[in-house]
């Protein structure tokens, strides 16, 4: 196909936008990486700004990885993220699919039932008491089950299911397929990009969460990564403690950011390959 002049201009604009976005993202990220690799006195010498490190030092990373709790907490986070996301996806799909069926009697009520909880909540203490009465305190279940469903994600997935062409379901039903089968063999495979997106949201949520661990976990062996990393970076205002505590340097702070988020960032490229033009849909229809 011959590309027209307007097509060329269009492409040029697209590349320009992408390059601008890339630069806007790269510059500050480069700064974070450079800071993490530069000894603090070198940063200070340069007036607090480093673009490319001249003197590289891994001291900040060494100090972070020297924490014996790090490896264990990483394992905890991985377990919670994997199990949590699987449970999330199970519950979310099972909720979103029926709610996406516009002819489901009572659908408005169910949707209101879940949307209401996005806005109203009982607060910290009643939630804690529920988790306690279920015997989940000090177990990893407390980090998973109370967050098993995010209403936002249910609504997203539901709206994706809604966009699937109705004829597909009709024909499946005519073939005598049961609802569970339709969900598993028609709806899910056709919604892979959106399933992946929702899964990603859940994964990142689990990876970054720390507050439920602070509340529900007392046993330090079960602390997730973010709690351990947060603890490394605290600043105290107290003069009595100022003397005792080694203040974390900017390099450590940046190194902690990188160490704490690189694993989850690395997941994204595997997910984004599913964001290509609706291949699957085409295949099914064709």
């Amino acid at each position: 196909m011959v590309s027209s002049r307007s097509d060329k201009i269009f492409n040029a604009i697209i590349y320009a936008v992408l390059v601008i976005v890339a630069i806007a993202a790269v510059f500050p990220l480069l700064y974070v990486i450079s800071m993490s690799l530069t000894p603090y006195s070198e940063v200070v010498k340069n007036g607090g700004f480093i673009v490319l490190p001249r003197k590289i030092s891994f001291e900040a990373y060494e100090r972070i990885f020297a924490d014996p709790a790090l490896g264990r907490s990483m394992l905890v986070t991985v377990i919670v993220t994997v199990c949590g996301t699987l449970i999330n996806m199970l519950f979310t799909t099972l909720a979103a699919y029926p709610l996406s069926r516009r002819n489901l009697p009572g659908r408005t009520f169910f949707l209101l039932y879940i949307v209401f909880t996005m806005l109203f909540n009982g607060g910290l203490i009643p939630n804690y008491l529920v988790v306690q009465s279920l015997g989940m305190l000090n177990t990893l279940w407390a980090l998973i089950i109370p967050g098993a469903i995010a209403t936002f994600n249910v609504l997203i997935l539901k709206s994706f299911f809604e966009t699937l062409p109705e004829e597909l379901f009709e024909s499946a039903r005519i073939d005598g397929a049961k609802e569970f089968r339709i969900l598993w063999q028609v709806a899910i495979p056709l919604s892979l990009p959106s399933m992946m997106t929702v899964g990603l949201f859940y994964m990142v949520g689990h990876w970054n969460s720390f507050f439920s661990a602070v509340l529900y976990i007392t046993n330090t062996d079960l602390n997730p990564l973010q709690v351990v990393i947060r603890n490394m970076l605290l600043l105290t205002q107290s003069s009595e403690l100022q003397a005792e505590i080694t203040v974390p340097t900017a390099a450590m702070q940046m190194a902690a950011v990188i160490a704490g988020s690189l694993p989850i960032i690395a997941v994204y490229p595997f997910i984004q390959k599913h964001f290509t033009k609706g291949m699957l849909l085409g295949a099914v229809k064709g």
């Binding site: 976005v21 009697p105 806005l119 009982g122 609802e179 033009k277």
Partner: protein, 327 residues
């Protein structure tokens, strides 16, 4: 056509029947429910979960009308005297109107300027034919989401500080005078909005990109055969194809209009910009810290919830006209 029919059905099942339902219809509905038992079965675990983890703790909202006491518990604590005591404290703060308007303004700016860039970026990703470029920029643009606001503030200082920031160093070297980006009231809200856009631009695009990827490709092919330009395809196929998602996200954003981003504002603000930057949540934080007043936080939360819920209901009603409403 099929859609239309379902829409009519939906109206019939909405929980507020305008007129008494004839007997035959009741039978028809129960037959329909029975036919869909599998769907209800799927929904059941989710309904139970919501009941246990969302509705059981909901009694906590009464704390807004009580003077909370640890040992008495939420039910046992005595009622506030007068019952609107905590609301009064919030509404009668000399800063109330300022807090409300700051919150609304910051939130609205973020809504207005934050939604479109992500949609445009998603379309640009989708239209990009050079796959390595697309992949790299996608991953890069999504990374800032993982930086905490404290780190982003550190980066902002490095670039924008009035005395030491890189940008101001350039400006002064070229003979200009330093601009108080972070230090003065003029720039404060713009900085909040732009750093938020920067942080979540790529992250926000993911969901739109997923939506675009789900559009039936035969539509594009047919349009191409008809000789439609790419811009026309974006306008007539891509955008309508993701309208559902756009409207859904808008409704939800409108519901949380009184959340202007506590963490961000808390990290960025200081006494000099209180008048443009102090929001409801930062006020609650400062006041709560002084007094350990549990009820106050719950009270303000309830206030925000009621307004948010009303807005969601309204926005959803409006959205029904264009399609893409939640229910």
């Amino acid at each position: 056509m099929v859609r239309m029919k379902q829409h009519v059905n939906l109206q019939a099942h909405s929980p507020q029947p305008a007129k008494p339902v004839p007997r035959g219809q009741v039978r028809r509905i129960s037959a329909e429910i029975w036919k869909m038992k599998a769907l209800y079965l799927m929904l059941l675990p989710c309904l139970i979960w919501y009941f246990i983890f969302k509705y059981l703790p909901m009694y906590g909202v009464v704390i807004s009308f009580k003077d909370y006491n640890f040992t008495e518990g939420i039910f046992g604590s005595s009622w506030a005297d007068p019952w609107y005591k905590h609301f009064k404290m919030f509404f009668e703060s000399p800063y109330f109107t300022q807090l409300l308007s700051n919150t609304l303004l910051i939130s609205l700016y973020k809504l207005l300027f934050g939604v479109f860039p992500s949609i445009i970026l998603a379309i640009v990703f989708f239209e990009c034919r050079v796959s390595w470029l697309k992949r790299w920029v996608q991953t890069l643009s999504y990374m800032p989401h993982f930086l905490s606001w404290i780190v982003i503030y550190g980066i902002s200082i490095a670039f924008l500080s009035e005395t030491t920031g890189l940008v101001n160093r350039w400006i002064t070297e070229m003979g200009g005078s330093a601009i108080p980006f972070l230090n003065g009231t003029e720039w404060f809200r713009s900085i909040l909005v732009s750093t938020e856009i920067w942080k979540d631009l790529g992250w926000g695009a993911i969901i739109y990109l997923a939506a675009i990827s789900s559009i039936d490709p035969t539509l594009f092919e047919a349009a191409k055969v008809d000789g439609a330009s790419r811009l026309r395809m974006i306008w007539h196929i891509t955008l309508p194809g993701i309208r559902n998602v756009i409207v859904l996200l808008l409704i939800l954003r409108i519901g949380s209009i009184l959340d202007a981003g506590f963490e961000q504002v808390f990290v960025f603000y200081h006494p000099r910009v209180y008048e443009v930057g102090d929001i409801i949540d930062t006020w609650v934080y400062r006041t709560g810290l002084e007094q350990m007043n549990f009820s106050l936080g719950a009270t303000v939360g309830l206030f925000k919830s009621v307004i948010g819920f009303a807005l969601v209901l309204g926005a959803n009603k409006l959205a029904k006209r264009w399609g893409g409403s939640i229910w």
